[in-house]
Protein backbone atom coordinates (compact mmCIF):
# COMPACT_ATOMS: atom_id res chain seq x y z
CA UNK A 1 0.00 0.00 0.00
CA UNK A 2 1.37 3.39 -1.02
CA UNK A 3 4.81 1.84 -1.41
CA UNK A 4 5.62 2.11 2.31
CA UNK A 5 6.61 -1.23 3.83
CA UNK A 6 5.04 -2.24 7.11
CA UNK A 7 8.40 -2.21 8.90
CA UNK A 8 8.82 1.55 8.41
CA UNK A 9 5.56 2.22 10.22
CA UNK A 10 6.70 -0.12 12.98
CA UNK A 11 10.00 1.78 13.26
CA UNK A 12 8.11 5.05 13.72
CA UNK A 13 5.92 3.58 16.44
CA UNK A 14 8.92 1.96 18.15
CA UNK A 15 10.75 5.28 18.18
CA UNK A 16 7.68 7.01 19.62
CA UNK A 17 7.36 4.30 22.30
CA UNK A 18 10.94 4.75 23.43
CA UNK A 19 10.68 8.54 23.39
CA UNK A 20 7.79 8.09 25.81
CA UNK A 21 9.87 5.66 27.89
CA UNK A 22 12.68 8.22 28.06
CA UNK A 23 10.25 10.82 29.37
CA UNK A 24 8.89 8.36 31.91
CA UNK A 25 12.39 7.49 33.16
CA UNK A 26 13.96 10.94 33.26
CA UNK A 27 11.11 13.15 34.47
CA UNK A 28 9.99 13.39 38.05
CA UNK A 29 6.96 15.64 37.60
CA UNK A 30 3.69 13.71 37.58
CA UNK A 31 2.03 15.69 34.79
CA UNK A 32 4.97 15.23 32.44
CA UNK A 33 5.06 11.52 33.27
CA UNK A 34 1.37 11.35 32.36
CA UNK A 35 2.18 13.03 29.04
CA UNK A 36 4.85 10.40 28.35
CA UNK A 37 2.28 7.67 29.02
CA UNK A 38 -0.01 9.27 26.43
CA UNK A 39 2.82 9.08 23.87
CA UNK A 40 3.35 5.38 24.67
CA UNK A 41 -0.37 4.59 24.27
CA UNK A 42 -0.41 6.40 20.94
CA UNK A 43 2.49 4.36 19.63
CA UNK A 44 0.58 1.19 20.55
CA UNK A 45 -2.44 2.48 18.63
CA UNK A 46 -0.32 3.07 15.54
CA UNK A 47 0.88 -0.54 15.74
CA UNK A 48 -2.62 -1.96 16.02
CA UNK A 49 -3.90 0.04 13.06
CA UNK A 50 -0.89 -0.74 10.87
CA UNK A 51 -1.16 -4.48 11.51
CA UNK A 52 -4.89 -4.41 10.85
CA UNK A 53 -4.51 -2.49 7.62
CA UNK A 54 -1.52 -4.38 6.20
CA UNK A 55 -1.97 -7.97 7.33
CA UNK A 56 -5.68 -8.53 7.99
CA UNK A 57 -7.60 -5.98 5.93
CA UNK A 58 -10.76 -8.10 5.91
CA UNK A 59 -11.19 -7.74 9.69
CA UNK A 60 -11.78 -4.71 11.87
CA UNK A 61 -10.32 -5.96 15.16
CA UNK A 62 -7.39 -3.51 15.27
CA UNK A 63 -9.83 -0.63 14.90
CA UNK A 64 -11.83 -1.87 17.89
CA UNK A 65 -8.74 -2.30 20.03
CA UNK A 66 -7.68 1.24 19.13
CA UNK A 67 -11.08 2.66 20.04
CA UNK A 68 -11.06 0.87 23.39
CA UNK A 69 -7.49 1.97 24.13
CA UNK A 70 -8.39 5.60 23.39
CA UNK A 71 -11.40 5.34 25.71
CA UNK A 72 -9.42 3.80 28.54
CA UNK A 73 -6.63 6.35 28.05
CA UNK A 74 -9.17 9.14 28.51
CA UNK A 75 -10.51 7.56 31.71
CA UNK A 76 -6.97 6.98 32.97
CA UNK A 77 -5.93 10.58 32.30
CA UNK A 78 -8.99 11.90 34.13
CA UNK A 79 -8.39 9.73 37.20
CA UNK A 80 -4.66 10.51 37.19
CA UNK A 81 -5.32 14.24 37.11
CA UNK A 82 -7.81 13.96 39.96
CA UNK A 83 -5.17 12.14 42.00
CA UNK A 84 -2.52 14.74 41.05
CA UNK A 85 -4.74 17.63 42.15
CA UNK A 86 -5.53 15.88 45.42
CA UNK A 87 -1.83 15.22 46.00
CA UNK A 88 -1.04 18.87 45.29
CA UNK A 89 -3.56 19.92 47.93
CA UNK A 90 -1.99 17.77 50.60
CA UNK A 91 1.73 18.03 49.69
CA UNK A 92 1.94 21.37 47.77
CA UNK A 93 4.03 19.53 45.17
CA UNK A 94 3.50 17.02 42.40
CA UNK A 95 7.01 15.63 42.33
CA UNK A 96 6.97 11.86 42.76
CA UNK A 97 9.95 12.03 45.13
CA UNK A 98 7.88 14.10 47.55
CA UNK A 99 5.06 11.55 47.68
CA UNK A 100 6.87 9.09 49.91
CA UNK A 101 4.06 7.68 52.02
CA UNK A 102 0.98 5.81 50.88
CA UNK A 103 -1.43 7.17 53.44
CA UNK A 104 -1.75 10.83 54.32
Amino acid sequence: MNGIPLTHILFVSTALFFIGMYGLFSRRNMITMLMSIELILNSVNINFLAFNKYLYPENLDGIFFTIFIITIAAAEAAVAIAIIINLYRSHQSIDVEDAGELKF
Partner: protein, 170 residues
Amino acid sequence: MSASAIIFYLIAAFILTMGILSVTSRKIFRSAIWLLFSLVGIAAFYFWMDLTFIAAVQIIIYVGGIVVLIIFSIFLTQKAGEQMPKPLRSRTLFSLLAVFFGFALTFLLIYKNTFPEISSHPFQLNVSDIGTQMLSTTEHGYVLPFEVVSMLLLAALIGCIVIAIKKESK
Protein backbone atom coordinates in the same frame (compact mmCIF):
# COMPACT_ATOMS: atom_id res chain seq x y z
CA MET B 1 9.68 7.88 -4.35
CA SER B 2 6.04 8.72 -4.67
CA ALA B 3 4.33 11.74 -3.16
CA SER B 4 2.54 9.52 -0.66
CA ALA B 5 5.85 8.11 0.60
CA ILE B 6 7.29 11.62 0.97
CA ILE B 7 4.22 12.66 2.95
CA PHE B 8 4.65 9.61 5.18
CA TYR B 9 8.27 10.45 6.01
CA LEU B 10 7.39 14.10 6.63
CA ILE B 11 4.59 13.13 9.04
CA ALA B 12 6.86 10.60 10.79
CA ALA B 13 9.62 13.19 11.24
CA PHE B 14 7.08 15.70 12.56
CA ILE B 15 5.65 13.24 15.10
CA LEU B 16 9.06 12.16 16.38
CA THR B 17 10.48 15.71 16.57
CA MET B 18 7.49 16.96 18.51
CA GLY B 19 7.64 13.91 20.79
CA ILE B 20 11.32 14.49 21.58
CA LEU B 21 10.68 18.18 22.26
CA SER B 22 7.77 17.22 24.49
CA VAL B 23 9.82 14.95 26.73
CA THR B 24 12.90 17.19 26.87
CA SER B 25 11.45 20.70 27.17
CA ARG B 26 11.97 22.14 30.64
CA LYS B 27 8.99 24.45 30.59
CA ILE B 28 5.99 22.33 31.43
CA PHE B 29 3.48 24.40 29.45
CA ARG B 30 5.61 24.21 26.30
CA SER B 31 5.95 20.50 26.89
CA ALA B 32 2.13 20.18 26.81
CA ILE B 33 1.95 22.20 23.59
CA TRP B 34 4.58 19.99 21.92
CA LEU B 35 2.56 16.97 23.01
CA LEU B 36 -0.48 18.56 21.36
CA PHE B 37 1.41 18.91 18.07
CA SER B 38 2.63 15.34 18.28
CA LEU B 39 -0.93 14.08 18.74
CA VAL B 40 -2.12 16.18 15.81
CA GLY B 41 0.68 14.62 13.76
CA ILE B 42 -0.55 11.17 14.71
CA ALA B 43 -4.06 12.15 13.60
CA ALA B 44 -2.55 13.26 10.27
CA PHE B 45 -0.87 9.87 10.07
CA TYR B 46 -4.25 8.17 10.50
CA PHE B 47 -5.63 10.34 7.71
CA TRP B 48 -2.70 9.20 5.58
CA MET B 49 -3.69 5.59 6.28
CA ASP B 50 -7.30 6.37 5.16
CA LEU B 51 -8.61 5.74 8.66
CA THR B 52 -10.68 8.91 8.76
CA PHE B 53 -12.96 7.81 11.59
CA ILE B 54 -10.07 6.95 13.90
CA ALA B 55 -8.36 10.22 12.99
CA ALA B 56 -11.49 12.14 13.95
CA VAL B 57 -11.71 10.22 17.24
CA GLN B 58 -8.02 10.97 17.89
CA ILE B 59 -8.51 14.70 17.36
CA ILE B 60 -11.69 14.89 19.43
CA ILE B 61 -10.53 12.84 22.42
CA TYR B 62 -6.79 13.47 22.62
CA VAL B 63 -6.47 17.00 21.30
CA GLY B 64 -9.83 18.26 22.46
CA GLY B 65 -10.04 16.32 25.70
CA ILE B 66 -6.88 15.00 27.24
CA VAL B 67 -4.49 17.83 26.31
CA VAL B 68 -6.97 20.45 27.50
CA LEU B 69 -7.34 18.50 30.76
CA ILE B 70 -3.54 18.39 31.15
CA ILE B 71 -3.23 22.13 30.49
CA PHE B 72 -5.89 22.87 33.10
CA SER B 73 -4.14 20.71 35.64
CA ILE B 74 -0.86 22.51 34.86
CA PHE B 75 -2.55 25.81 35.63
CA LEU B 76 -3.97 24.38 38.87
CA THR B 77 -0.74 22.92 40.20
CA GLN B 78 2.29 24.65 38.65
CA LYS B 79 3.74 28.03 38.07
CA ALA B 80 3.50 27.71 34.31
CA GLY B 81 6.28 30.09 33.33
CA GLU B 82 8.94 28.57 35.54
CA GLN B 83 11.55 26.14 34.37
CA MET B 84 11.49 22.71 35.89
CA PRO B 85 14.68 21.63 37.69
CA LYS B 86 17.21 19.89 35.52
CA PRO B 87 17.08 16.10 35.86
CA LEU B 88 20.10 14.51 37.49
CA ARG B 89 22.87 13.73 35.02
CA SER B 90 23.13 10.10 36.11
CA ARG B 91 19.38 9.62 35.69
CA THR B 92 19.47 11.13 32.20
CA LEU B 93 22.43 8.98 31.26
CA PHE B 94 20.91 5.73 32.48
CA SER B 95 17.50 6.41 30.97
CA LEU B 96 19.20 7.21 27.66
CA LEU B 97 21.11 3.93 27.86
CA ALA B 98 17.97 1.92 28.71
CA VAL B 99 16.01 3.55 25.92
CA PHE B 100 18.83 3.07 23.44
CA PHE B 101 19.24 -0.63 24.14
CA GLY B 102 15.48 -1.21 24.19
CA PHE B 103 15.15 0.55 20.86
CA ALA B 104 18.06 -1.38 19.38
CA LEU B 105 16.58 -4.71 20.48
CA THR B 106 13.14 -3.91 19.09
CA PHE B 107 14.64 -2.52 15.90
CA LEU B 108 16.60 -5.74 15.40
CA LEU B 109 13.53 -7.89 16.09
CA ILE B 110 11.42 -6.00 13.54
CA TYR B 111 14.26 -5.95 11.02
CA LYS B 112 14.88 -9.71 11.20
CA ASN B 113 11.24 -10.72 11.37
CA THR B 114 9.46 -11.87 8.24
CA PHE B 115 5.83 -10.91 8.30
CA PRO B 116 3.17 -13.05 6.68
CA GLU B 117 2.20 -12.21 3.14
CA ILE B 118 0.83 -8.69 2.80
CA SER B 119 -2.78 -9.23 1.89
CA SER B 120 -3.95 -7.61 -1.31
CA HIS B 121 -7.54 -7.49 -0.09
CA PRO B 122 -8.64 -3.84 -0.30
CA PHE B 123 -9.13 -2.25 3.06
CA GLN B 124 -12.10 0.02 3.46
CA LEU B 125 -13.46 1.38 6.64
CA ASN B 126 -17.16 2.12 6.84
CA VAL B 127 -18.45 3.69 10.01
CA SER B 128 -21.63 1.62 9.66
CA ASP B 129 -19.54 -1.59 9.74
CA ILE B 130 -17.87 -0.42 12.95
CA GLY B 131 -21.24 0.32 14.51
CA THR B 132 -22.74 -3.02 13.45
CA GLN B 133 -19.85 -5.07 14.72
CA MET B 134 -19.50 -3.04 17.90
CA LEU B 135 -23.05 -3.87 18.99
CA SER B 136 -23.41 -7.36 17.55
CA THR B 137 -23.83 -10.28 19.93
CA THR B 138 -22.52 -12.91 17.50
CA GLU B 139 -19.09 -14.49 17.58
CA HIS B 140 -17.03 -11.49 16.45
CA GLY B 141 -19.19 -8.88 18.10
CA TYR B 142 -17.79 -6.44 20.63
CA VAL B 143 -20.89 -5.77 22.70
CA LEU B 144 -19.44 -7.16 25.94
CA PRO B 145 -16.27 -4.98 25.93
CA PHE B 146 -18.47 -2.07 24.92
CA GLU B 147 -20.64 -2.50 28.01
CA VAL B 148 -17.61 -3.06 30.23
CA VAL B 149 -16.03 0.14 28.94
CA SER B 150 -19.23 2.05 29.61
CA MET B 151 -19.16 0.80 33.21
CA LEU B 152 -15.47 1.79 33.41
CA LEU B 153 -16.25 5.31 32.23
CA LEU B 154 -19.01 5.65 34.81
CA ALA B 155 -16.69 4.38 37.54
CA ALA B 156 -13.93 6.79 36.41
CA LEU B 157 -16.42 9.69 36.42
CA ILE B 158 -17.62 9.01 39.94
CA GLY B 159 -14.12 8.17 41.15
CA CYS B 160 -12.69 11.47 39.85
CA ILE B 161 -15.38 13.46 41.64
CA VAL B 162 -14.83 11.55 44.88
CA ILE B 163 -11.04 11.90 44.73
CA ALA B 164 -10.86 15.54 43.73
CA ILE B 165 -13.75 16.85 45.85
CA LYS B 166 -12.78 19.51 48.37
CA LYS B 167 -13.06 18.09 51.85
CA GLU B 168 -14.73 20.04 54.66
CA SER B 169 -12.04 21.62 56.80
CA LYS B 170 -12.19 20.05 60.22
